[in-house]
Amino acid sequence: MNAATLEEKVWRRFTPAQRLARFAVYLGLVTAIVVSIQTIEVIPEFLLDAPEQMADLLRRMWPVAFSYYPKGVHEALIETLHIATLGTIISVVIAFPIGLAAAHNIVPNRLLNHIARLLLVSSRSVNSLVWALLFVAVFGPGALAGTLAIAFRSVGFVGKLVGEAVEEANRGTIEALEASGAPWLSALTFGYWPQIQPAFWSVVLFRWDINVRESAVLGLVGAGGIGMALDTAMNLFQWDRVAMVLLAIFTVVIVAEIVVTAIRQRIL
């Protein structure tokens, strides 16, 4: 290679195709934002008195009605925690077989893999509030609808991550077990399970944390838990009680996060 051709070359980080693709993304982004700003319906009068309304809202929320906690909030809060926990447990029970069926090293059948993946994706793409609406229509209002909503929404999440963990499992242990004549179920419990266990607990804890947050809103559509107390207080314009409910939700969510972080640090 001679010196002349070297000098002509300009070093560029990306190929022209890469640069074009990036430019397209930027252009698309800016267009989307501009079009959205221009077409979205905003009522300027509402925006103008927003600070005033916000101040009014805060004034009505203060002082927080702590006396309302024992009779109106505590029970609903416990119900919310049960919905989140039981929902997570049910989702694990449903998600485990589906997640295994989605892993091609457990079920070497393309068609079954795809069906399992489709089930997981459809579970994930329906919001838990929509699941709650559906289950309220089927089972009537109450915690049962909420628990099932949480469970069905979580199946996709838990199943996908369990399936991925199984697919990443090391073959060595499993081959050793199979060579010793271990049946299929033993290979699963003594070969795969110890390997995916850390990932599994981490996924379950993470999902439980999310579920505590999600189960707090389900009551808005009648699916039980603290959302019901929130809805009632709001419909009656009792903003000091609303503040109490919000404070309770905030505390539980923060405590749940701290607990999950502490457990994860100990077991992982």
């Binding site: 700003i37 319906e41 509402f46 927003a50 089927v138 109450g142 939700i249």
Partner: protein, 268 residues
């Protein structure tokens, strides 16, 4: 260990067994508390069958309402993501403990925790009261949610950067802003982009829901149709929402693929 003692390959762990027993006890206790009964379940199955029969076939007659709601949801998601990410950048920087003193990071972290602990729908309720019904409340609520998630992830990404480059830039006598722009941001750009596409995806999901409390988007029409037992229209809307979310996920993956090369930079 003496040789004549028979070794069991996988000895039973009594602590694990006690754990399973406790889990079973909890399930029994919680199901009784939430009034799950077999009779209710069977009634529900009958209701479910009738419910599905009424949902089919989906009714796309009022496609104009549907399209209007979907468009508004997309617009809410785009604007909330843009706004949320722009605000999250400085907030993430302020919350990074390796760049800022504790008296800056603590209040910022508290703000992020506050934004994250409430479900977007609950935040939307507060904004509907303050700003009034409509898309603006939805944008505000999802912006808050974006700050909660993107802000936290940005802060964590910044805390994991290599300080060598920062020191090198600082050693040249660069100002604080220059250290940020040339020492910090290039290291985290790829991951920021990943988080941002993830946030857009998540906002798209939630923007179809905030309408339940009157904050714009297709959620309002969905909830109204549910209450009118207009289940075939509900089915049409649910199908459209799922399609929209799929499309959003595909676009987000494409965008990530275009920029993925850059994420390798910060993996050393």
């Amino acid at each position: 260990m003496s040789a004549d003692v028979a070794r069991v390959a996988f000895p039973a762990d009594w602590r694990v067994r006690a754990g399973w027993l406790a889990l079973a006890a909890y399930i029994v206790y919680a199901t009784s508390l939430l009034e799950f009964t077999y009779a209710r379940f069977m009634v529900g199955l009958g209701n479910g069958a009738r419910f599905i029969a009424r949902m089919l076939p989906p009714n796309f007659e009022r496609w104009e309402t549907l399209l209007k709601g979907l468009t508004e949801s997309v617009e809410i998601a785009i604007l909330a993501s843009a706004l949320g990410i722009v605000i999250s950048l400085p907030i993430g920087l302020l919350a990074a403990r390796n760049l800022m003193p504790p008296w800056v990071t603590w209040p910022t972290r508290l703000l992020i925790a506050l934004c994250r602990s409430f479900h977007p729908v609950i935040v939307a309720i507060v904004f509907v009261k303050a700003i009034g019904f409509g898309a603006l409340s939805g944008i505000a609520a999802l912006t808050v949610a974006s700050i909660g998630f993107a802000g936290k992830l940005f802060a964590e990404a910044i805390e994991e950067i290599s300080l060598k480059q920062v020191e090198a830039v600082r050693a040249t006598g660069a100002s604080f802003m220059n250290v940020i722009f040339y020492g910090v941001l290039p290291q985290v750009f790829g991951r920021f982009l990943g988080f941002s596409t993830y946030q857009l995806d998540s906002n798209l999901r939630n923007s179809t829901m905030v309408g339940i409390v009157g904050a714009g988007g297709i959620g309002g029409a969905l909830f109204a149709a549910f209450q009118r037992f207009d289940y075939d229209f509900v089915c049409a809307m649910l199908l459209s929402i799922i399609l929209l979310i799929f499309a959003g996920e595909i676009i987000a993956n494409k965008v990530r693929a275009i920029f993925v090369e850059r994420t390798r930079v910060d993996e050393e």
